[in-house]
Symmetry: C2
Subunit: 197 residues, 2 copies
Amino acid sequence: MASKTQSRRDDLRTKLIELGEAEIIEHGLPALKARDLAAKAGCSVGAIYNAFPDLHHLALAINGRTFRRLGAQVAGAVEPLAEAPACERLVAMGLAYLDFASQNTAAWRALFEIDMAVGEDIPGWYMVALEALFDHIRRPVAELRPDLCAEDVEFLVRGLFSSIHGIVWLGLQKRISAVPRPELSRMITLILSEIGQ
Amino acid sequence: MASKTQSRRDDLRTKLIELGEAEIIEHGLPALKARDLAAKAGCSVGAIYNAFPDLHHLALAINGRTFRRLGAQVAGAVEPLAEAPACERLVAMGLAYLDFASQNTAAWRALFEIDMAVGEDIPGWYMVALEALFDHIRRPVAELRPDLCAEDVEFLVRGLFSSIHGIVWLGLQKRISAVPRPELSRMITLILSEIGQ
DNA sequence: CCTCCCATTGAACGATGTTCAAAGCATACC
DNA sequence: GGTATGCTTTGAACATCGTTCAATGGGAGG
């Protein structure tokens, strides 16, 4: 029975995820440091590498949580609007995305800052969570544009997500655009409304 | 007369910029290393800090070059279309942006990867170059939407740029979206065409 | 209670950006 | 020209990373 050791390792895993999440929420991905984590978790630096292969995988686990929170918030924004017009639902999702990014800027940025060139060790759930997000967008888009084939709907979904993401990303960046919050809402509404004709 | 020393420092500056640019074009911003540069430039590591306050400012100088190349390519794409409909010109610029990003991926990514939280030392020309890019977009947008006030045109310009940027950024990323090149063109064309009604 | 095995430790390694006392060199003055 | 002065250049040293690994310690089975 390896229960004692196993459970202790699992405890450390979750403790590291929670501490790391707090750090990323507060100070962003670059603030995720091995020695800081070890000090806060009350373990040695080496112990981290027993729970995770490296800091990259810890960051991925934290990003997983952020992704689920994001998905829940976006889903929560459209749920009450099940009967509303598709265009309205699209706008609601776009604004929910902006809200989440505004309220969780550091953690949300970490979703895209993480170095993806590392290799194929991007976990499957990463793509799964992304697809779940796309699912929410696909429904209203398909309703709005029955003239498009499935493939074109798919591209429009990805294009719309990327567009809104770009607006929020550059808008929340201090330097490139620095657009005040209400104007970001208007831009998102404008883009999503025009798509729906 | 401080000509000898001055000119030598300037020589080192341009040499470092050229070497660093080659490195960033080839391997991206993270490959910009002080010791590598010194070895290639045939100087000591300390000499770099005589020509630039730090590597961050060297990277900014290199980004400046990239920015100007980008602006020239986008401008070159609309120039032959001076008489074409505004919508067509918008699409041409969007596709030119995609072209540049595809052909100079590493250097183009460096434009946005550079850490902007450092402070207010973002040079003025950075914003100037960005404004010049926005100028090109503003003209066709204003033509297409005479119903909008100047402020709304401004937001639409920024929103359109951010949208196209988002599509290209995520599209060229290996993991998030991974949309093949022709489909990226179609998405861009789709978004820009629909805006123009 | 002993023994083996694996988890844990933290000093050490290699890489990084940056600094600074020392050395070198060019310019100005006599 | 020679000498003095001040800036430039050097590269070893420092601080800070992520990561490793020999040594240590503690828990499971006999």
